[in-house]
C-alpha cells in the first residue's frame, strides 16, 4: 500500500528534518538536533543519507573556532518532499478543498 511513498522520506527523523528545512532558508545542526529530539549520531547518519540522495546541501564551516554545520534543502529535495506530501494526500483521500 505504501510502495509509492519515497522510502528515504518515510522515516520519522528524515521526514522531520525535511519538514524543518522546508520552513527555513537554512538550519544549523544544533537546531535540527533540538527540533528532531534525536541523538547526535543518528542525526548525522540521517543527514548523510539525505545528502547522498542530493536532497539537502551540507556546508561545514567554523564559527569562533567551533565547527558549524549548515544544512539547507536542495531543489531535488524540495520536489521529493512535495511529491511525498501529494502521495500522502492521495492515500488519505485529501484534496485542496478539504485539507
Amino acid at each position: 500500500m505504501f510502495n509509492e511513498l519515497d522510502p528515504l522520506l518515510n522515516s520519522p527523523v528524515r521526514l522531520a528534518i525535511m519538514s524543518i528545512l522546508l520552513t527555513v532558508k537554512h538550519a544549523h545542526f544544533n537546531d535540527l538536533l533540538k527540533e528532531t529530539q534525536t541523538t547526535q549520531g543518528n542525526l548525522s547518519h540521517q543527514l548523510k543519507k539525505l545528502h547522498e540522495a542530493q536532497y539537502i546541501y551540507i556546508e561545514k564551516t567554523y564559527k569562533n573556532n567551533y565547527p558549524l554545520t549548515i544544512i539547507s534543502l536542495s531543489e531535488k529535495g524540495k520536489i521529493a518532499f512535495e511529491t511525498y506530501v501529494e502521495n500522502i494526500k492521495k492515500y488519505l483521500h485529501l484534496n485542496e478543498n478539504n485539507t
Binding site: P7, N10, P12, L15, A16, S19, I20, K25, I88
Partner: protein, 186 residues
C-alpha cells in the same frame, strides 16, 4: 511494518507538528532595532540641544557620532552572536530592513544636499518597515506603531525644524523602541 516506517497519517502528523513548532521557535533578534531606534532618537534630541546652544558642538556631530556607535556595535554583535537557523520569514524581514536602512541613508543625503528636513522621509521608511513587520507578524502593536510613524511624517511638514527633531526622537522611541521592547515573540 518496521517501526522506522510511517503510515500516511503518522507522516502528516509529523509534518504538521514540526512545521508548527519550527515557526514558533525562530525569533528575530530585536536588539538591533532597539539599538538603532534609540541612537536615532538620541541623535535627534542632541541636535535639538545643539540648536538651543545647550551643547557647543557642530549641528551634524550627533549624526556622525551615534550612527557610528550603531555601526560598530552592529558589527561586533553580528560577529559575536551565536548564529541560529534562518527562517524565510526572518530572511525577508532582515532583507527588508537592510534595504530600508539604505533608503534612509540615501534620504538623509538627498535631504541634506537639498537643505531640507530629512525627518519626514526617515519616519516614512521606519513606519513602512514597522507596518509591514506588523502585518506579517499579525501584531497590532507594530501595525499601530507603523501608522503612528506615518502620521508623524505628515505632521513634520507642518512644524518648524527644531520641533521636528523632538517629534522624530519621540516617534522613534514610541513607535520603534517600545514595541520591540514589549513584544517578545514573532
Amino acid at each position: 511494518m518496521p517501526k522506522t516506517l510511517l503510515n500516511p497519517n503518522e507522516s502528516l502528523a509529523i509534518i504538521q507538528k514540526v512545521v508548527l513548532s519550527t515557526r514558533q521557535d525562530y525569533h528575530i533578534k530585536r536588539k538591533f532595532y532597539i539599538l538603532w531606534g534609540l541612537l536615532i532618537a538620541i541623535a535627534s534630541f542632541s541636535q535639538y540641544a545643539i540648536q538651543l546652544n545647550l551643547i557647543p558642538l557642530p549641528w551634524y556631530s550627533p549624526w556622525i557620532f551615534f550612527p557610528g556607535i550603531g555601526f560598530i556595535l552592529s558589527i561586533i554583535w553580528g560577529l559575536s552572536s551565536k548564529k541560529s537557523s534562518l527562517s524565510y520569514y526572518n530572511h525577508f524581514v532582515l532583507t527588508m530592513w537592510f534595504t530600508l536602512y539604505i533608503a534612509m541613508g540615501l534620504s538623509l543625503f538627498v535631504a541634506l544636499f537639498n537643505e531640507i528636513s530629512p525627518f519626514p522621509y526617515l519616519l516614512i521608511c521606519v513606519g513602512t518597515g514597522t507596518n509591514i513587520s506588523g502585518f506579517l507578524m499579525k501584531n497590532r502593536i507594530f501595525i499601530i506603531s507603523g501608522i503612528m510613524l506615518g502620521l508623524g511624517a505628515i505632521y513634520c511638514l507642518f512644524i518648524p525644524f527644531h520641533q521636528q527633531l523632538l517629534l522624530n526622537g519621540t516617534c522613534m522611541i514610541v513607535g520603534n523602541v517600545l514595541p520591540n521592547l514589549i513584544t517578545h515573540h514573532v
